[in-house]
């Protein structure tokens, strides 16, 4: 294992310490339990946004803490969901009286830990909602499984909802907006290589020189299918088709009902993306892929979208949601209207996204 680290057990804390001081103009980091939060939190009467998940996806989520995006982020161990006490303490720290939205990627661990945290925070009188992001079209079956994973749409949900919170949306509105983003966005990813967590010291899976994994998540886990290595054009074609050909995806999501004061299962159906739509198009590095290669993928993606009658309203190419040093790429398309675009364009000041 070749990594810029010291003792394996210290990795997370040392990195967080460095992160905190490198960005002390924007945020602070609390330890025991661990969470990063806006320096100026709580913002009175603004809905607070909290996300979190395993570490190793940098800049997600810590890198999106700051004005215009997240109020707090809770990092777990590498590729392991954070624990409820982190989100609970973060919620208490950043709630400005207008309630808290948890943006949760749809991994069993994340979902359960955030649910427990929400229950804890509600006991303290904080109004908390959990919105689940499950945008990974590579996972087909859903009714009796954990469903689709949360991927690139998470970043867009954080950005767009962050701007809406700044603009004065209340908790109900932000919750609805966040669900809308999730329903309008789809992602698919692939890996050329595995990655190595410091704790394990060996690759998360073994992949031959002439093989690739298609339909991966973001935790160094194997994908839905292993196949022969293909050209960038063929890979891009697979990812874009995966997204555009996705049929009306319907599943039940576990959401908090303020009316019923309990968790309920809500049936949700995604919007298809097709002819005449405008999208935000993200080409995301899995971490170790050079930025230049992303542009090759972008070029082919644009050609395919144009052929499908889809207009790229905004483009994102870079490191947004990664898996350590894994080489590979994911594509995310978010179908937008004026509301989403306006919030996407709003200013943001975080370590990972400045505009």
């Amino acid at each position: 294992m070749k990594k810029l680290i010291n003792k394996v057990d210290d990795v997370l804390n040392e990195q967080l310490k460095g992160f905190a001081s490198a960005h002390n103009d924007l945020l602070k980091v609390n330890f025991e339990p661990t969470f990063a939060y806006r320096k100026d939190a709580p913002i009175k009467n603004k809905v607070a946004l909290i996300s979190g998940g395993g570490s190793g996806h940098e800049p997600l989520h810590n890198g999106y803490v700051g004005s215009g995006m997240l109020d707090a982020a809770c990092p777990g161990e590498i590729f392991t969901s954070p624990t409820p006490d982190q989100m609970y303490e973060a919620a208490k720290k950043v709630d400005g009286g207008a309630g808290v939205l948890f943006i949760v990627k749809n991994y069993t661990g994340d979902v359960m830990n955030f649910e427990m945290a929400a229950d804890m925070a509600r006991e303290d009188g904080i109004d908390v909602r959990n919105v689940i992001i499950d945008d990974d079209v590579a996972v087909k079956d859903s009714l009796f499984t954990a469903g689709r994973r949360g991927m690139g749409v998470t970043v867009l949900a954080e950005k767009i909802c962050g701007a809406a919170a700044d603009a004065g949306y209340d908790l109900d509105q932000i919750e609805a907006l966040c669900r809308k983003v999730n329903r309008h966005g789809k992602s698919m990813g692939m890996a050329l290589t595995a990655c190595i967590t410091p704790a394990n010291g060996t690759p998360s899976f073994d992949l031959d020189e002439n093989k690739m994994e298609i339909g991966i998540g973001i935790h160094g886990e194997p994908g839905v299918e292993r196949m022969e290595l293909k050209s960038a054009n063929e890979i891009t074609q697979m990812l874009v088709s995966g997204i555009l050909d996705d049929e009306n995806y319907t599943r039940k999501l576990h959401e908090w009902s303020s009316d019923k004061n309990d968790w309920v299962d809500v049936k949700v159906t995604d919007e298809p993306i097709g002819n005449g739509d405008r999208v935000i198009a993200m080409v995301n590095s899995m971490g170790g892929t050079p930025i230049s290669e992303l542009y090759g993928v972008y070029s082919k993606m644009e050609e395919l979208l144009e052929a499908a009658g889809i207009e790229i309203a905004r483009s994102m190419v870079g490191h947004y949601i990664t898996s350590l040093e894994m080489q590979g790429v994911s594509i995310t398309l978010l179908k937008v209207d004026n509301e989403l675009l306006k919030f996407y364009d709003a200013p943001v000041h975080t370590p990972g996204w400045h505009q």
Partner: protein
Amino acid sequence: MITKQEIINWLERAGEIYEKQRGYLTELDKAIGDADHGNNMNRGFQKVTENLADHSDSDIKNILSMVAKTLISSVGGAAGPLYGTLFLKGAGSIDASDEISDSDLLHFWEEGIKGVQARGRAEAGDKTMIDSLLPALETLKQSIGNNEEITKALEKAAQSAKKGMEETIPLIAKKGRASYLGERSKEHQDPGATSSYYLVSALAEAVSNNSSE
């Protein structure tokens, strides 16, 4: 009757096993998950073992609640809330005392596993920890119903857990991270079912060792 010392021995024994099997559990999770289950369980139970030192004056219910909170706040992932809930609901179902009856132990498992299912919504056959926990519970219930010796009863429960664990191998995962793999999740033993088997067998060991002293 299970004594407080036996409970402590159980938890310490579990800690030893998870430390020893950290690599193996992680390896199992590497095949169909994200290669962290051994690390997660080990982190949690080392914390539990550490915390036990401060609990010499606590009763069993207290100790088990401490385990719940420790697991919830240190394991993370799917395993953290699930094992945390197991202990939380289990501890909630028994009386505060320095020893518990066999039927209290049964309640612990019954309510604990109910909690796990309420939280994780996995059914038997979904290729999860439930697949070793449910058979173990079933066996324990029968044995205790038949007034079998507790040592023997736990021994048999551990055997059932083991069988359940092994029977996860051909299954297609329906819950948790392995479910993303669909058909590719076949032919692999579920890591959580494995760690659950360890938990039950650690109890069997702790109780039998103690009784034979």
